[in-house]
Every structure is written in structure tokens, then in C-alpha cells.
Amino acid sequence: MSYIRPNFRHPELPANEKGYTKRHYEGAISTLCAGCGHDSVSGAIIQSCYEMAIEPHRIAKISGIGCSSKTPTYFLGNSHGFNSVHGRMPSVATGANLANRNMIYIGVSGDGDSASIGLGQFAHVARRNLNMLYLVENNGCYGLTKGQDSATADVGSASKKGEPNPYEPIDLCALALQAGASFVARSFSGDKEQLVPLIKAAIAHTGFAFIDVISPCVTFNNTASSTKGYEFARSHIEATGKIDFVPLRKEITADYAPGFSQEITLHDGSVIHLYKQEELDCHDRNGALAAIQDYAGRGQILTGLLYIDPDTRDFHDNQNTTKKPLVDLGQSELCPGNRALKAINASLR
């Protein structure tokens, strides 16, 4: 494959050392709700790839189905992408990666996509330590189907129906750690400060890199327990029984230093507490698990890089596949030819 350097330049925009401006990493205009956390994540991905000066065509974007899974259309418009089926992104990514180990794989999913229908594939792709960035845009609900609780919804949090959710949330970071992921982190959609470096580290990592990004749904994380927010609209919705009114909101941002915790108020007024870890030993799998549960016990969500094993064997290493991508092998390298076949025939008489 000939990697020709693009010769176009935007005069005004600064180009990275590969000659690409930020615009080369952007995608189509988002059709998500104004202020949706997912759009912030798309921005962070764009910035990360720009700063890392990755040639866009060397990236493959893959997703399932959901608002979150739609986002690959809204970033990296010069990279091939595959919007597959609900909950099955991991298997598509696995096949693609087996076929061409030279590409950089960015998988985007949602909490419904990964913690419900896709839970099995999520755990097994982590276990195989597939070399990819697996990013979940976690809003605790099914956005695209209008706000049902997902398996990551917090106990007691009220869904759009106003009913408290009685079930323990599934912690995807803990699950990834258990399944054998070699890079596990958590962040918040509005915290570019933290998110961008994590994404860059995850892309640089060889092996399965998982980032659980808390990404509020401005439309359906709108609960009856809301203090401020928009009662007027809400009672309108309750009265008409139609969720047809989505006021424009601004994205929620967070900016806080390591070692501190920050209280974040969501659009519905509900509050989450983030704690940005500073000196957690990132090389201790069990320690990371304990830490997560620790902070959860204190009602805090631990963010940052939770675990990394910089030198693991990825799926290809375990398979002993050729360094040359399988897609690049020609017929001469693949077809054993007639001589071998004659020998096989002989052995079958």
C-alpha cells in the first residue's frame, strides 16, 4: 500500500507533522441532541488523533447501534468506518484486526450496547487482549430508544418513567479488569484535560485498551427527582405522554486536578461525584479492582488510568500470525499448489 502524503493544506489551520490539519480528523455534522456528552467524546477523539498525527486512513472506526454508536460518523471522516449491529462491535473489530494488524482500531460503544446485549462479546474481546481502543460512552440509559435504564444505571436512579432502578450497576471497568484487559481507564465526557491524554495513551498501547467515559444523556437523564432543570417541559411531557420536546442544552464540562474530587451536576440536577486518582499503582490488577470498589463505597466514581500492563501478548502474538498483515498475503503465499495436493491425495488411498 502506498502511503502518499496529501498535498493539500489549509492556510489558516495549523498542520501536524504528518501535514494534516484538525479538519482532516473531523466528520459529518452530528445529529445528536445539542449538548449530548457523546459529541464531546467525538471532539476528544478528533483532538487525540490530530495531536498524535495519525494518518486518518490508517484508522478503522467500528461501532454497534445506539446514539453513541452513531458517533463514528461524526469524527474521522477520512477513516473507514463500520456501524455494525447492536452489541456486536467487538466481534467485527476482532475479525478486522485479525485480517489487518497494521490498522489502528477505535471501537465506540454504549452502555446498552456493551453491558446488555453485548456483554459476552465485550468480556471475550478483553480476554483475547485484542489490540484496539474500546471506548464506551456511558450514560446509564438507552438513549436512542428513548431512555430505558441500562445495566450500568445506578441503583435508585430514576429512569424517564420515574421509577427507581433496583439493580446493582455493572461496572464495565471492573469487568474489563477481570476479563484480562491490559489497559483500563475511566473518565468524563466533559473533561478533555483528562480524556484526551487517556485516549492517546490507549491508542499507543498494544493490547486491549478500555475507556469507560461517563457521558450524560441530556434528554433522558431527565428524571422526576430533578431539582432544577425544566419542570415546565417535564410536566408538559407527562401531560402529553409524548417525549417530543428536547430543550437545547450546553455540554457539561469538568476541569479538576488529580487528587481532587469534583461534584458534577447533570442536566436533570442529579449529582455525580468524580474523583481523579493521582498515585494509584496502575500495574496492580487486583489493586485497581479494590480501588474502584473502595471509591464506589464512598459514593465516588474513580477516574483516570486504573490499570496498564505495557507489555502483554495480544491476540496476534498468541496466534503467531505473520507480521505481514494477512490481507497483504498474495495467492503465491497462500495457495500451496498442486504438488502438495498430489501428496495429500496419495495419503488418502
Partner: protein
Amino acid sequence: MKPIKSINDFVIRFANVNGTGSASANNMFVKSVFRMGVPVSPKNIFPSNIQGLPTWYEVRVCEQGYIGSRGGVDIAVCMNPQSMAEDIRAVEAGGYVVYDNSKPMDLRMHRDDITFIGLPLTEICRNEYSDPRQRQLFKNVIYIGALSALLNIEFGVLKDLVGDQFRGKEKLIAPNIHALELGYQYAREKFKCPLGVHLERRDLVGDKILIEGNDALALGAIYGGATVVAWYPITPSTSVVDAFEKYAKRLRIDAGSGDRKFAIAQAEDELAAIGMVIGAGWMGARAFTATSGPGLSLMSEFLGLAYFAEVPAVLFDIQRAGPSTGMPTRTQQSDILSAAYASHGDTRHVLLFPADPAECFDMGATSFDLAEQLQTPIIVLSDLDLGMNDYMSEPLSWNGKKTYRRGKVLGSDQLEKLTERYGRYLDVDDDGICYRTLPGTHPSKGVFFTRGTSRDEYAQYTESGDAYVRNMERLLKKFETAKSYVPAPEFYAAAKSTRDGMIFFGTSTQSCLEALDGLAAEGIHCDGMRLRAFPFNLEVENFIASHDRIFVVEQNRDGQMRKLLIVECEVDPKKLVSMTHYDGMPITARKIVGAVRSAVGGATVTPIRRKKAGEKS
């Protein structure tokens, strides 16, 4: 009673207990017949468990070269007390029963219209061997030795076989040959050898080989350039991947580095397996999965995605008796409709129907050409009978000049030269097949987004009804085009010109060909057509058009292929007479002949079936 007399034409049935090591001994018997130049075809009838249940190995020896199941048993080798009564009952009058008479036989089982041949196997083993495992194993070898005397198998052939079988484990050769001799000697002394039914050397197998369809399919995939395999274990498809791995480790290792030029992923389930295949196909690799009915059902959502997003994929469905878990170790051709129309919405899939190992090899390879040329899933429908039984087959052959057909893929140079805007779903050549590009090909040209949602010619998401319809119409056109790509049917003209025809495919072929001969002998002439693929092309329609009455033979309850022919070729159902067989055992020529005979005799019901409840035709 008159003992059956026949040379090189009989059915011998070994009744054993699952997991007692009989398989390799019985296989030795088959190979010895084969090496004596006599056509032979074994059918392994095994239970859905691992150890302790009855298992049968039915071998047909047939000088005329018919290798379909014959039905009936001339010689029963009864090594399983559990099933002995039933096994003896199954023997044809005048037949023979070989059994272990170390303990006296239950007299209720006795029949005086057959010949009983007692071998004190347990006793011999007790005297010869101390280790119970050896007693168990050699028991099998000893009865093979006895059969070599009784049926006139050249002892030298057996010795060579042992030599080949244990190459590398030389120290096992002598004891095995000794065991053969024990049986041989005993039979020689005690009985008049050979029996009326026996073998004689011939030169009728030429350069043919004995191979299971699944092995041939796997070899086809290797020769066809498959690099990514994703699967989930399920009988009877497991051996496809086992064979792929076995051969790939020989034929696909990088000489220098020892690295593998292939990758096999044992997926967590069938949904993941087909997902991996689609991901690999999207990236540009030739990838396949192998499964059976339940897996096919689980893959149906993903198959719809591949159809609509137009991603190449190959699926080997080794059919077994459904529905649901059904009879997992029995054969059937009953996934035809679910494969042809897999997934919700308007879908249609390309199917291939191999009939023997040589064709498994060919289709195993060409399925990848078709998948890439047509940019859609190709489903190869084999079955347990073909997949897991040794078939006498033409040797596998590969045309050295043949080059892989990768279909319409734009490389970086072509993209470089491209002046107008690239449209992934633009029907440039007006054949319904558009040009795809592979990720990573070119830094600034040819990029597009693949999705299961509706999109326009430039792969942009759209909810426009017009764009959607244009795309769906093009997919129809592509399916039309496919008719000229898929393998054409094969024809077997009757000796006399006739208005009757017979349509068959896959593992019904051998028995149908034998039946056509048999019917011709009775003066009933039918032209035969063997389907090799769906969509059906013009030749198929012409065959149907040029006959008044056509028997459609298939191994399922609902006459699925007949249904498919009717709706896809717009045929008047009255023309197509359904002949189905689906008890899980391979179909026999006897049944087909009987069915046709009575159909021609005026009866419109097909006696193959007990009842016709709930079905016309």
C-alpha cells in the same frame, strides 16, 4: 435356507459400543476393500454422546460403483450386546452374523434363516493380554483379522495398512499384526473360508481417494486463500475447522519465521463467529465460519447485515437433523429455506450444494471468489453424511493457472487515478455490483462508511425512500447477475427421450443416480438434473420447462428445495412432485425407485413418506 452368495456386492454392518476404539479397526476394513480395487462406501451412525452408547458402521461394497446407501444388511458384526437382538433382526434372510461366542448367545435371538459365525473374542483376548485396555482395543483388530479370512481380504493389504497407520509408532505394528493373525487363524481353522459373500481383487477405483467432505472443504478453503477462520464448535461442522488447522499447520507456515499465514479464532458463540468473518471480509481478508443449523439461526441477524452492507463472507453449514437440537448426529438437507432467506426484511442469499468431496474442495475454494465478486455472503450447504463419512471421490485437483478472483476492489493506484467522486454504491457497470475499497488503501481517496442502515450511492446515511428503493432494486439486479457467476447444474440425460425429470442435489445425488439406472432398467426413463447453486440460472428453468413431470428428491420434511424452485422460477407446483426422506439416515436408491415407480403407476402420493398430513402435492 440359502445363504446369500455374492462377490464384491454386499452390505456389512459393524455394531459397536461408542468409545471402545472400534472406529479405527472398522476403518481399516474399509481401506482394505478400497486397496483391493473394489468400490466401497462406509456410513458412520453414531449417538450424540461420548461413551457407552450403541454405534454402527455400515459399509457398502459395490463392484458397480454405487456408493449411496443401499439399505439392508448382509453381514452383521455384532460387538454390542445392548443392540445385538435388534442388529440380528436387521439381517436379510440368507445373511451372516459374526458375534462373540465367549459367552453362549441368548437363544431367543437365534434365526435359522441366517448363518451364525461365533468368534471367542473375549476369551482369546483374556488369554493373550493382561492389560484390560489392550483386551478392549485388540478385540476389534482380531475380528478384522477373522473377516479377512471369511471375506477373502488379502492379508498383505491389511499388513500394509497397519504399517501405514502406525508409521512413527513402529513398536505398535507387530502386536497389531499379531492380533490380525489371531483372528485370521481362528476363522481359517473353524470355518469354510471364504463365505459365499466375499471380496475379489479388482481394478475399479483408479486414482480415487477416500476422504471426508469436511476435510475436502477445509483443504478447499486453504487453496482458496482463506486466512481468517472464526467458529464455534458444533457437530457435524467441527471437523471442518479441525481439518483446516491440521492442514494449515503443514501448508501455511512461513518457512523463515515459522509464523502462521492464517488465524483461527474460537469464538464465544456463533454470533461472534460470523461477526468476525464479516469484520475480516470488510478489511479485505478471505474469511469463513463453519456451523450447523442452530448456529445458522443465531447468525441470521448478521447475515442480513452482510447482505445489505454488501460485505463478503463465507459460511459452511454442515446440516444435521433439525428443528432445534433435533438429532445432532443424524443427517438432513433441511436448512435450505432458512439459508436462502436468512434474516428479517427482504433478503436472499447465494447457496452452493456440493455433492462429493471433490466438489467440496472446489466449492470450498470458489466460494471465496464468489463472496468477493458478489460482495455478499455465500452459504455452502453440506451435511453430516457428506461431511463426516469417508467418500470415494475423484482426487482433489487444483488448476495451477487459476488465479483468485477478488472482484471489484479499487487499489491505491486506481484510486489515485480516480477523477470523479467515488461512490461505494454507484452501479457503474450496470450489473448491480459496485466498487469497494479496503480500509488503509489510500490516504485521501476512496474512504466510505459501511452501515446496516439505508444510504445513498455515496454511502451517506439517508432516510429517503427513493434512495432506499434504488438500492434495494440494485441488490435484486446483483442477484440476477449472480446467476451467471454460480456453478451451473449438471445434467444426466435418460437413454430414451422422456417428459419426466428428476431434480436432486448434494448427498441425494449418489442414490438418485443409482435410482435413475434402476428405473431405466424397469423401462421408466427420467432425465436428471443436479442443482449446484442458488440462485437458479436459465438452464434450471429450461430443464423444468422442457419436462411435464419432475420429481424433486430431497432429505427434509417440507420439500424445501421444491418450494424454492416454485417461487424463484415461478413454476406451477403441479409440475413438481415432492419426494422427501428425512429420518436422519442417508436416502437410498431403493426408496427413490419405489417412490417413482408408484408415482408413475398413477399414485400421486409419494410412499417415501408415511403420511401426507398437512401437505398437498
